[in-house]
Amino acid sequence: MSYFVDEKGYYGAFGGAWIPEMMQANVSELQERYLEIMATEEFRREFDLLMKDYVGRPSPLYEAPRLSAYYGSRIFLKREDLNHTGSHKLNNTIGQVLLAQKLGKTRIIAETGAGQHGLATATVCALKGLPCVVYMGALDVKRQEPNVRKMKMLGAEVIPVTSGNQTLKDATNEAMRDWINHPEDTHYIIGSVVGPHPYPDMVARFQSVISEEMKRQLQEQTGSGFPTRVMACVGGGSNAAGAFYHYLDHPEVELIGVEAAGKGADTPETAATLAVGSPGVLHAAHTILMQNNDGQITEPYSISAGLDYPGIGPLHAHLFKTGRASYLHATDQETLQAALLLTRLEGIIPALESAHALAALPKIPLRTGDITVICLSGRGDKDMQTYLDAYGY
């Protein structure tokens, strides 16, 4: 069984490039060149240097003593929240902006949900002096306001999207339309392992630095690079893809993704795609998505803007179908509690997205000798308004 993309851009039955012809020239150029460019000495050198001196990598692997004591089992946090701009998203935008420059592109666009990907894109555009347009659902513009202000200060144009639910799916639609209208000069930096081939593979490769470091750090700290399990939240699935990547071919390492259940996976207000979805095509990939019987995409719901998406990357659809990874979900309430718990036990305020992964801990039988690594994908600065509404501080 292979968990990596095949030459047609598929993970088993999932993936592909279901793009309108208007995107064909750009997508096929990427398909033909991404591996070759990423393999060049020059690209590697620049990428690695920026990862170290600009992003601040390697991110620490922190054994959380009081959280471990609370659950009676060893828990490690991969601290992507300590990256510059506060999440794992910068790993991908650094890679893609370098690639865009090699392709001769002079304008960058992106979609964003929580604003972390928009922020990471605006940041690399400032770094490279490139104009940047970020599409963001109008609802997300309101609920992730601090990130909107940062993007603007960085010089990006933030365009609120008012179609649909005014969240991540709608922002992605609008970014795709922008690319169709600007095929010559523009590169679209997709923020997760979604979209047409080669994006899911390309983004997973840029994020794979997470498990590459994790393996080395575990080796040093525990004497083995292979933990009992790795857990990560899943919106489109990029931090999870990065955290799983170097363990995919090691079946002894349990892989667990955590989706956003919203008000409950058995209610209409949910974003737990794998719990309620079925196969179909969204944003140019054949994957699992939330839809009605007529094949219309249904609107997701989650307290967390970064997980409020009705699809999932094709890699995860494949890992789910083959059983290589399992997928749990956590509700808004469980997530808010988990966020407060981490804050009080470890002095770390997590992003709402990452708190979903923490919220799944009570759902797993944790044994004393286990080693569990959680990808703490981002920090909670952007979510202070939501925490204020929930807790009064």
Partner: protein
């Protein structure tokens, strides 16, 4: 096999007027009357839009008409029901245009059989690229005498255009410029270079030019380079007026053809 699209192109070689509208818009029951009125006013070919929740290749006008149509209750089930007896009323070629996901959920084979039963002549699914078409769709299209219409754009290379020409049938949908539907271009802004480049390729399929064709002058301009052109957003926008359909459609088509 006889197909009304081939028949149209063998009978008429210039100023072919194709019109797109979204099924179920402005009202759910308007689908059939709109097709009939378009034929009565001399339109040569009709593209019936199957609304989708996330039409990424469409601009605001068709996005809004799709949202309204879905709110009105349009679906493939409803559409095929509405089209049941269309061939007793209308004889011009009819195409269905939309996105691939609703077709996948309906079932590709079932969809193609329904199209044949309703007298549909061709399908335009912009997000169904050649590789996926070949693997999952082609046998059902061919069995049911349905043309699969491919799009080409100013960014399509010559090799790509030839590939699509060899694979597609009926006609090639020539996207006028790099854009989603509904761009408001002036006739002077269309690329003479692109239009003549494609014209000179000597393709096996005839071409219709679409996207941004909105009035008489853009239609005439497109007809200089191809046997005809397609009007979509401008017509859908006109349908949004609070006037009887007879009046709106009569006036709209007359202004283009006059």
């Amino acid at each position: 096999m006889h197909n009304r699209i081939n028949e149209l192109f063998s009978r008429k070689s210039h100023h072919i007027l194709s019109v797109y509208f979204t099924a179920g818009y402005p009202r759910l029951e308007d689908t059939v009357p709109i097709i009939e009125l378009l034929e009565q006013n001399g339109v040569d070919l009709v593209e019936i839009g199957m609304p989708f929740s996330d039409p990424t290749a469409d601009g605001p006008v068709i996005q809004k008409s799709s949202d309204s149509a879905l709110k009105n209750g349009m679906s493939l089930e409803v559409l095929f029901h509405q089209l049941e007896n269309i061939r007793e009323r209308v004889s011009i070629p009819l195409l269905l245009m939309g996105y691939v996901n609703p077709v996948l959920q309906y079932g590709v084979e079932r969809f193609c059989r329904q199209c044949r039963q309703s007298g549909i002549d061709g399908i335009i699914l912009p997000d169904l690229p050649p590789q996926e078409y070949l693997t999952h769709f082609r046998p059902f299209f061919e069995e049911n005498n349905l043309h699969h219409i491919f799009l080409i754009t100013p960014q399509s290379s010559e090799a790509r255009i030839r590939e699509l020409d060899a694979l597609g049938s009926g006609f090639l949908y020539m996207v006028s410029s790099a854009s989603t539907t509904g761009a408001t271009k002036k006739a002077e802004e269309f690329s003479h270079e692109y239009f003549t480049r494609v014209e000179k390729l000597g393709l096996q399929n005839p071409r219709l030019i679409g996207f941004g064709i909105s009035d008489k002058s853009t239609f005439e301009k497109a007809c200089k380079y191809a046997p005809g052109a397609i009007i979509g957003s401008a017509f859908v926008k006109a349908l949004g007026q609070p006037l009887p359909l007879e009046q709106t459609i009569g006036k709209f088509v007359k202004e283009i053809k006059e």
